[in-house]
């Protein structure tokens, strides 16, 4: 079955071709079905491969298709690598992808750009598969840029809206900045290891110097930060909400943003050699987590809240990678894909229900409330997702998030652990704030839009339910004994041993595993306290949200009035966008404008006709009726024109002037000789 891996990208490619060329004319409304069918087929192939990998032999298989570029010693081929890490990623991508396809068939029904949307969606799946399946960095980069392009197209799907196309452009350019870092990282890898294929690179990795590994790590992390929206380059994700909700669900929750995490995990052997890079990643992850979570507290737009929650959860994943727990990072990636996908699709069905409300109120929570009775399925699936993300024990979120925090604590990153815990608290708080504002309390929806609110059709609610089941089951089955669960053993061969934090981490991890294995009890005093603390944080967050938004709704306004500065700061997202606009985008515009005028007048001018010379010659020409001196005449040319006028008018027409000049010539020559 593994040998058929090349089928996975082929199906979406087929979908793209069909919908792309015949979309507008023939497969008008059936485009959605075709696209979903293709996604489903590739999902089946993935299941087959996963089945063979999990229960079969496992290990690493490379399928070579054709060699792509070769220039001297640099040669790269198009080949796929199937190993545990890529299998997990394939499962997540194709699974969530298939569900989103089904969901968007219903969601986008009747939209004029219907075939175009599904072409882009299939193109996105194709690029994501290339990214995950590629056996070398270059093919990953191809997928990487392809995904960036699709996010540009999908965010800017409703291109009539100026804000949508601006958001798309912003996303692509910020990604491109990240890609620049990725490119430099790739070159360094090639220069230091002589190849770009993973197996060869990791084979040579041990004898890379620490400085080299750190440099590569940091450069690659810039790429990851650009793609997975970490601190400096996260600004595009919140704006990406301009795109349709399934897009946000698929791209900005489950798959694309996780590419960065996958890349760091994949290059773990190099990162291990450069611990400095890991420290940076851990710190950035933690800071991003708490920073995004804090913004999420006060946002009123339902999708913005989820967007900042994604950024903060990604912060968690990078925190896991930073502390060396690559397995935990991937595990959280998987669980996050489930419940964040669920939450986004849930919010999508809410917005879908409110589409009769005025444009700006459709996504604003202040004009929602009391939808619980109207949309029971959405409500309950939404609650499961929220509970999972908050980290309440039985559900998926608890296992993966707790593991990250535990690893952070035991590997000595106490500051990171503190930040993580506070972020977890905030996560629980804003998730349940969202639920109480949208589903509970009295109905604040616009009057005439109220009668249109109804439960979404089955094509939308079925994926919600599936994801809800996955959110519940997805955490406990693979990861029950923390650190010892099935997922860790499965992923171990393709991830480097997390040696971060030196020997202490291993000992602590062993300790936890030992305690877990002893009959599922929570042995070991430190681990037990940690788990209890985590649960307390989750429940505390929920209670706080319950108290402020259900019990007496005056409290949030009171708080806002008492700390007006802090509230406005958070509401305006720390004015980050304005800062970027002021200190990066504006100067570029000014530079651009000045360079253009510099080019038009000075470079062109100095070569063409510097103002001084033309001025002189034009005034001079007034006297000698210069015919064609215009400002743009070539500088050298205007000098020559100036002298040509001078020479022309020396020819006075009087013979004796000529004779005099001749005599003068003789005289000059004579005196030059005699007195030299």
């Amino acid at each position: 079955m593994i040998k058929l891996a090349w089928l996975i990208p082929l199906f979406p490619a087929l979908g793209v071709v069909i919908n792309g060329f015949f979309g507008s004319r023939y497969t008008r409304d059936k485009a959605g079905h075709i696209a979903a069918l293709m996604a489903g087929l590739s999902f089946l192939v993935v299941l087959g491969i996963a089945f063979e990998m999990i229960f079969g032999s496992g290990g690493k298989h490379t399928i070579h298709l054709w060699d792509w570029i070769s220039a001297g010693k640099f040669s790269v081929s198009v080949a796929f690598l199937i190993d545990p890490l890529s299998t997990i990623m394939l499962l997540v991508v194709s699974g969530v992808g298939f569900l989103v396809h089904v969901y968007s068939v219903g969601y986008l029904h009747g939209d004029p750009g219907y075939p175009r949307f599904f072409t882009y969606l299939n193109l996105f799946m194709l690029s994501m598969f290339l990214l995950v399946l590629g056996d070398n960095y270059l093919l990953m980069f191809v997928g990487w840029e392809g995904v960036g392009l699709c996010s540009y197209l999908l965010i800017g799907f409703w291109y009539e809206k100026q804000s949508a196309s601006d958001a798309g452009k912003k996303a692509f350019i910020v990604n491109r900045i990240g890609d620049a870092g990725f490119l430099l990282g790739m070159f360094m890898i090639w220069v230091l290891t002589g190849s770009l294929t993973y197996l060869e690179v990791f084979h040579v990795a041990p004898n890379i110097t620490e400085a080299g590994a750190t440099a590569i790590g940091l450069l690659l992390f810039i790429g990851a930060a650009g793609k997975s929206a970490q601190i400096p380059l996260y600004v595009w994700l919140p704006d990406a909400m301009e795109g349709p909700t399934p897009v946000s669900a698929l791209i900005h929750a489950a798959t694309m943003v996780t590419a960065g995490v996958y890349m760091v995990a994949r290059t773990s052997p190099i990162y291990v050699m450069g611990p400095g890079a890991l420290e940076v990643i851990a710190l950035v992850g933690a800071v991003t987590a708490i920073f995004a979570a804090s913004i999420g507290l006060v946002q009123n737009d339902i999708k913005r809240v989820l967007a900042y929650s994604t950024v903060s959860q990604l912060g968690f994943m990078f925190m896991a990678l930073g502390v060396g727990a690559f397995g935990a990072g991937i595990f959280h990636l998987m669980t996050h894909a489930f419940f964040k996908g669920l939450l986004f699709l849930g919010s999508g069905s809410v917005i879908h229900a409110l589409h009769h409300a005025p444009e700006d109120q459709q996504q604003d929570m202040r004009y929602m409330g009391g939808l619980r009775s109207k949309m029971p399925i959405t409500y309950w699936t939404f609650v499961i997702g929220a509970v999972a993300i908050a980290g309440v024990p039985p559900l998926a979120g608890f296992w993966s998030k707790d593991e990250i925090l535990a690893n952070a604590f035991f590997t000595g990153h106490h500051f990171v652990w503190v930040l993580g815990s506070v972020a977890a608290l905030m996560t629980a708080f804003y998730m349940f704030r969202l639920i109480f504002m949208t589903f509970h309390g009295e109905m604040r929806v616009d009057h005439h839009a109220r009668e249109y609110i109804h439960e979404s059709p089955y094509s939308m609610t079925v994926p919600l339910m599936i994801l809800a089941v996955l959110s519940v089951v997805g955490g406990i089955i693979p990861g029950f004994p923390p650190e010892g669960g099935w997922i860790h053993t499965f992923l171990a061969p393709s991830l480097a041993k997390g040696s971060a934090g030196g020997h202490a981490a291993n000992e602590a991890v062993q300790f936890v595993r030992v305690s877990a294995k002893s009959g599922g009890g929570h042995g070991g005093p430190a681990a037990v306290i940690l788990i209890i603390l985590a649960i307390a944080i989750a429940v505390g967050g929920i209670a706080l949200a319950w108290f402020m938004y259900l019990k007496n709704t005056a409290v949030p306004d009171g708080l806002a009035s008492r700390f007006p500065g802090l509230h406005r700061l958070l509401l305006n997202k720390y004015y980050i966008d304005e800062i970027y606009q002021a200190c990066i985008v504006k100067p570029i515009y000014r530079l651009m404008g000045s360079l253009w005028s510099f080019d038009a007048n000075v470079v062109d001018g100095s070569v063409n006709g510097s103002s001084l010379i033309t001025l002189v010659s034009s005034r001079f020409s007034g006297i000698f009726d210069l015919k064609t001196v215009d400002g743009a005449v070539n500088g050298v040319a205007s000098v020559t024109k100036f002298f040509s006028q001078v020479f022309k008018f020396i020819q006075s027409g009087m013979v004796q002037n000529y004779l005099f000049v001749m005599l003068l010539g003789v005289f000059m020559m004579l005196s030059a000789y005699l007195f030299r």
Partner: protein, 171 residues
């Protein structure tokens, strides 16, 4: 003795030529030019070139100056006597020509280191075989080619002058 005659003739030449250049009346200038030529023939005799002296007087003074006088009459050029005679740029000309003369005089003629030793001629005035015979012989033997070219030159000048000066050309 010889030197005395030389200074006399030189003074004559320089005086007359200065006058030629400065006189406003064209006819006076022409006549003064004839006077110059006479003094020149004197110098030539002193230098042992008797034939040349005679040719100077006969050909130059007689032939060319007559031509000038005819053309002056033809163009009744004396009407221009009253007009400003000197060219506007004459001031610069005087300055430059004086400096040029000084320069030649001091640097060029002062040198003379490279001049050959004096040899002079064997013949004396009036004796045969004198200057004329020697001149005649080499003119038709050694310098035959330039002689022929000179004749063609004169022919060309003649035809050219006729073509330009004739009032109307009918034939």
């Amino acid at each position: 003795m010889e030197l005395l005659f030389f200074y006399l003739f030189a003074a004559g030449i320089i005086g007359a030529s200065l006058l030629v250049v400065t006189r406003s009346n064209v006819i006076h200038a022409a006549l003064l030019l004839v006077l110059t030529f006479f003094f020149m023939s004197g110098v030539f005799v002193l230098a042992g070139a008797e034939f040349l002296a005679v040719v100077q007087v006969l050909l130059y003074a007689g032939g060319i100056m007559v031509l000038y006088l005819f053309s002056i009459m033809l163009m009744n050029a004396e009407v221009s006597v009253r007009l400003r005679q000197f060219h506007r740029q004459s001031f610069f000309t005087i300055v430059v020509s004086l400096i040029l003369a000084a320069e030649i005089w001091w640097k060029v003629l002062g040198g003379g280191a490279a001049y050959p030793a004096f040899k002079g001629f064997s013949w004396t005035l009036g004796t045969t075989p004198g200057n004329v015979e020697a001149l005649g012989s080499i003119l038709y033997t050694k310098y035959l080619f330039p002689f022929e070219v000179a004749s063609i030159l004169l022919l060309a000048a003649m035809i050219g002058a006729i073509v330009l000066a004739k009032r109307t050309i009918d034939r």
